[in-house]
């Protein structure tokens, strides 16, 4: 496996990893933009634009974009997060030049008015779909409560009314501001000829231009702990999210944070698993970490019988208090490492999985994202590092958001 980089005169960077033994090839454009980069009334535009990118170009209608992807049997998709919007496809190696041609073409979309109006209806359907899913709703609300006026608190889908009012002009402005070549990284991996990909990307993307794009607000965030109850009578279960400050994407402590979350709240064999899931006290409960540029989150989730929520939260708070005070044991750390390292190997075996790892490592840290490097870093974490993480990012100071049938919530030990 060999890692390569190339930067075009217009600022677009191409990175890649050639895996001669792979049977497929993956390619994607990763744009450093998302809901955190939206201003005021344009909230939701990143995600809406992601849909519109498939709606045609100077060379292709919307139907032709879909037909061309399907003609080469591409496994293709796109996604929008708070800070990255990406467009990617996995194909058999002989179709890679065509895949790059289509992906590069749709990165310069026409944004036609009629397509905009039709797709707006699809976005409004997507918002309604998530409104029927309490597990999704609680995420949106919890981020708002945790982040307050920090841009990471903005919803990815945006509010229905805001989407309904959004104009094509606003979308065009956002595109011009954010999709500048210097703000895009092209990533390739698998059974590919690097020099041929460089030539292909230069030909397809060399003419892109645009003002230099940057992200201005990357401050850390200090949340105010507290409890937010959002009654929603149509839900059956109570969905609760507990957020506390975590390591940012560029922090060396992120490895300790991920192992801590695994030891405390992995979906099997963790402290929370044994104390709450195994005894049948909750439908689901666990921990994870979420990283962003400049700040991060330590996340705990709880889904279960509304009536038992207060008791279960008290139970979780006790676990967090204990871990905050005493850390985790050597055995727990070893076990977490064994799980995480096995998962890294498996997630990185296919070009389709490698693509996102490569993109993430480059976008955040200008690193090569080699699986073995990541494994070595996890392996090097000690219980002392876990202590340093806990001192910097206490996990017992929680911003709690509960979404479900409850109209009152009493937790004996309030944070």
């Amino acid at each position: 496996m060999a890692f390569h980089t190339h930067t075009l005169p217009n600022g677009l960077t191409l990175i890649g990893e050639t895996i001669p033994t792979a049977l497929s090839a993956s390619f994607g454009f990763y744009v450093r933009t998302g809901s955190r980069d939206e201003i005021g009334a344009e909230n939701g535009v990143s995600h809406f634009l992601e849909h519109m990118m498939f709606k045609g170009t100077a060379r292709r209608t919307a139907l032709e974009v879909n037909l061309d992807f399907d003609r080469i049997g591409a496994d293709y998709n796109a996604s929008t997060s708070e800070e990255t919007t990406c467009y990617f496809a996995t194909v058999l190696p002989e179709y890679l030049p065509t895949a790059i041609d289509i992906l590069a073409d749709i990165m310069r979309p026409s944004l036609r008015e009629q397509d905009f109006d039709t797709e707006k209806q699809v976005i409004l359907e997507e918002i309604k779909m998530y409104e029927d899913s309490p597990a999704s709703m609680v995420w949106d609300r919890a981020k708002t409560h945790y982040f307050g006026d920090h841009p990471l608190g903005q919803s990815i889908l945006g509010p229905s009314a805001g989407i309904a009012a959004l104009s094509r002009g606003q979308m065009q402005d956002y595109f011009s501001r954010r999709y500048a070549p210097n703000n895009v990284v092209a990533v390739v991996c698998g059974a590919v000829d690097w020099d041929a990909v460089v030539a292909c990307v230069e030909k397809q993307c060399g003419h892109w231009s645009g003002p230099t794009a940057a992200r201005s607000d990357v401050r850390d965030h200090r949340p105010t702990p507290g409890v937010h109850l959002i009654p929603h009578a149509a839900a059956t279960q109570e969905n609760v999210l507990m957020l506390s400050r975590g390591a940012a994407a560029e922090s060396p402590l992120r490895y300790a944070g991920a192992l801590l979350a695994t030891a405390v709240g992995d979906d099997s064999g963790s402290r929370i698993y044994w104390e709450l899931v195994d005894p049948g006290l909750v439908e689901n409960a666990g921990c994870m970490v979420d990283r962003a540029e400049g700040t991060g989150l330590f996340v705990a989730t709880l889904t279960g019988d509304p009536e038992a929520t207060g008791k279960n939260l008290k139970h979780l708070q006790r676990i967090f208090d204990e871990v905050q005070r005493d850390g985790i044991t050597e055995d727990e750390l070893t076990q977490a490492k064994n799980k995480v390292m096995s998962r890294i190997v498996r997630a990185n075996e296919r070009p389709k999985g490698r693509l996102h790892s490569l993109a993430g490592a480059w976008l955040y840290n200008r690193e090569q994202g080699q699986a073995d490097t990541e494994i070595a870093r996890f392996d090097a974490v000690t219980t002392t590092d876990i202590r340093s993480y806990l001192d910097e990012y206490p996990i017992d100071k929680l911003t709690i958001t509960a979404y479900g049938p409850l109209t009152t919530l009493v937790i004996d030990t309030l944070p």
Partner: protein, 411 residues
Amino acid sequence: MAEIVQHHTYANGLTLLTQAMPHVRSATFALHLPAGLCRETPDQRGVGTLLAESIVRGAGNYGSKQLSVALDNLGVDRSESIGLFNLSLAAGTLGRNVPAALKLYADVVRRPHLPEGELEAAKELMLLDLAGLEDSPQEKVMLELKRRIYPEPFGRNQYGTPETIDRVTIDHVRAFYATHLRPHGAIFSVAGAIDPDEIRALVGELFGDWSGTELPDPLEEAFAPTSVHLEKETQQTQVALAVPSAPFTDVDYYAARGVVGVLSGGMSSRLFTEVREKRGLCYSVSAGHDTANRRGALVCYAGTRIERAQETLDVMLAELRRLTDGVAVEELDRLKTSLKTALVMQQESTGARAAAMAGDWFHLKRVRSLDEIVSAVNAIDDAAIQRYLERFPIRNPTVVTLGPTPLTIPV
């Protein structure tokens, strides 16, 4: 392309399928045991799910927690699940850890403790999952559809009912285990960085002296499919519908897959184009194929705002009926390229290979080669699709809707 699937059926009826995959470090194994939902007696619905919940709570010389720690330390990501025909234990880990993990699984399969003290916890989890289903309208509508298009016991799902879950005792769970966990009909499927000869010898050592005879096939009850509307205050109406199709074992199975590809194979497929791209009626619309026992089904789904649900259903049905007008060569070429690409990519995934081998063996008692599948896919043409549609016409669909108001189902 290197593709060496080996199969071995031991004297006791257990079948082992292996595929060594070059260039990967991981492996996936899945143990499919003939203790599926179709074996539950009607008054003990849920006993199989409770067995799947209980079977890893201690085995052999390991207590529940010790077993979990041992598997974690081998980097095993695992799942226990129950389907219509099989209780399945699946594990993904590094290839070099497979032998040690298999030894632990021999205890799980043959010497589980099935502790009485933990049955209540397993029941509580089941009841919580059942309650949680109310918050997943899409899953709920699909489960209700399957319950209505297949005869008992083949339309079942893993949730059970509160009444029957309450009734199940640890003796029922142990009896279900003793009756149905047996080597005859069990399929072990292993793919990845493994040595097939080593695995074959090890499985022989661990399971060779396991005994038990073949179980009789469960019988179908008489039934007639019926449509229904489930009333619920939701933002979207869920629409699910099905018509009979060719099962996996049928000569027209590939034509059935062709129909699904034309309807839902990519973003240029007919349902996506007509329902979402042209009319903006929904975010999610799809068609799929399902097999249960000797029956197949063509299943379609969409979720859409209440005032647009009738139009969505009408457009979906119109697209199904339009199939008899013919399918273009260009459409077929697209779906063939996509099916063949998916086959090649499957060869990069240990989990996908383990699942595909086991699925083939379960239905066909053999594993199809890539060449066989590719030539069958190449043979799909409009004539084959029209022959299929004559055998399985788009008529009298079973429709299940969920939302505030019912829809009109055209006859």
